[in-house]
């Protein structure tokens, strides 16, 4: 009498173990190894520069030969330190791009409307609780 189980053999078991292990590794890579954080700088709606956020550094942004802004990076974060549309001290107005400070989460942005610059991050470990922000217009 043949006692072999035709429905389920040891080779089936091995194949299933391989499939499950492979799936687990793939999910693990997707979930726990996000891409390295980087900052995307848009100027006039186009990508001006992509900066890996992996070190302390300063970068200057130009439109042609015209200097617009300096940004500073540190691991995982970026901020604007100077923008040419500087504040007028007598009126105490704030310069939004510089006042924004460090950004590190996906969903945060640095905007300079006068210079038409948008900076945001991708691949950050955290993202904002919000999908968008409403503010005065």
């Amino acid at each position: 009498m043949n006692t072999k189980n035709k429905f389920f053999s040891k080779w089936d078991l091995l194949l299933i173990v391989f499939l499950v292990a492979g799936l687990g590794i793939w999910i693990g890579i997707k979930q726990f190894s996000p891409p390295a954080a980087k900052a995307i700088i848009l100027l006039d709606g186009k990508v001006y520069k992509v900066i890996p956020l992996d070190k302390n550094a300063y970068y200057k942004i130009y439109r042609g030969d015209t200097y617009l802004m300096t940004v500073e990076t540190k691991p995982g974060a970026i901020r604007a330190t100077y923008s040419t549309n500087w504040i007028f001290p007598q009126t105490e107005t704030t310069q939004v791009s510089v006042a924004t400070g460090w950004i590190s989460k996906e969903g945060e942005t640095i905007i300079s409307v006068p210079n038409k610059i948008v900076i945001y991050t991708e691949g950050s470990k955290e993202r904002t609780l919000y999908d968008a922000m409403t503010y005065q217009n």
Binding site: L42, N85, T93, T109, I111, T134, Y135, Q136
Partner: protein, 330 residues
């Protein structure tokens, strides 16, 4: 072997039949003197192409609505010396809605404050130009303010008494609505949102059935700092406030929303966020409230059916009775 075939078949079936979450494409930019974000997903065509088409529309809108751009439709109307001027359907709609709301608010909301804005320099992004005008200059400009000076005849508009229109109080909401409609026309089941300078129109719920979470910027915090959150499946949200276009002179804050009676900004509120099914109210109600104050804000909200979250000059939060429907708590 049969078992393996069943398992592999099941996995392949699941891959094909489980509905995937939408893949969103997001594009940022600076348009119409403010920042823009459009996030969009569609199963019809390419989301990026649709968003790129939406962004192309901004140059058209600028040529219609920018009152300071020589040659724009609104610029030409403001300089038409009281003559009847034919305007495009888009401009006509926003003018009509603005005048209707002016009547409803008894002139607390008034788009004819156009001549006041360059007096303060708030028509430019150059903060060096922002300054306190003399009382005489404001008095002179106020002679040319009053929505009663706007006459509409079919598709023609006439501006009397030298008034200049500035439609910023409703323009962004209306543009958000047009872009939402454009996205829905491409695919009625598409989802995402349009954000034009903080005025946000929802195209469709996140992932098909979840709300989009919108932060309300802390008026005394930095631009990424939310003081509260709104959850929206549809409709519009917008904010008016005193914290971006402003100057402080001798310790007093002056900002870009003027009381049409005095020519100066009022200090009743720091910020008003409005949720509405109508795009024009998501902006217009906030502008009205900044001018009219708390009591009038509450009465008007009930009249036109909007929800609001405001912060008064003492930093206290004031919410409409129906705000709970939209409030998202962490």
């Amino acid at each position: 072997m049969i078992f393996t075939i069943v398992v592999v078949g099941g996995v392949i079936g699941a891959i094909f039949f489980i509905k995937p979450t939408p893949k969103y494409y997001t594009r940022y930019g600076v348009e119409l003197g403010t920042n823009v974000q459009i996030t969009y997903a569609t199963s019809k065509g390419n989301a990026k192409q649709v968003v790129d088409e939406m962004f192309k529309k901004f140059s058209d809108y600028e040529k219609i609505f920018d009152p300071w751009l020589a040659g724009s439709e609104l610029y030409n109307l403001n300089h038409s010396d009281g003559k009847w001027t034919k305007v495009s359907p888009v401009l006509l709609t926003v003018i009509k809605d603005s005048i209707d709301f002016s009547k409803l608010t008894d002139g607390k909301f008034d788009p004819t404050v156009g001549r006041l804005i360059p007096l303060w320099g708030f028509n430019t992004d150059n903060t060096r130009n922002w300054h306190l005008p003399s009382p005489e200059e404001i008095k002179d400009a106020l002679k040319h303010v009053g929505y009663q000076n706007v006459e509409i005849r079919g598709d023609e508009v006439r501006l009397l008494n030298g008034v200049w229109l500035d439609l910023n109080g409703m323009m962004e909401g209306y543009i958000a609505q047009m872009l939402v409609e454009m996205a829905k026309k491409n695919d009625p089941n598409s989802t995402g949102f349009v954000d034009i300078g903080g005025t946000i129109g929802i195209i469709g719920p996140k992932n098909g059935n979840e709300p989009w979470i919108v932060g309300i910027q802390d008026p005394r915090g930095n631009p990424n700092q939310a003081i509260a959150y709104v959850k929206l499946y549809s409709g519009y949200v917008g904010t008016s406030g005193d914290y971006e276009r402003y100057i402080i002179v001798d310790g007093k804050r002056y900002y870009h929303i003027f009381d049409p009676k005095t020519g100066y900004s009022n200090d009743y509120l720091e910020s008003v966020t409005t949720v509405s099914t109508r795009s024009i109210y998501s902006d217009g109600f906030g502008v009205f409230s900044m001018v009219a104050g708390e009591k009038a804000m509450k009465e008007m909200a009930q009249k036109i059916g909007v929800a609001y979250y405001a912060i008064n000059e003492n930093g206290q939060v004031i919410k409409s009775a129906n705000w709970n429907e939209y409030e998202y708590k962490k």
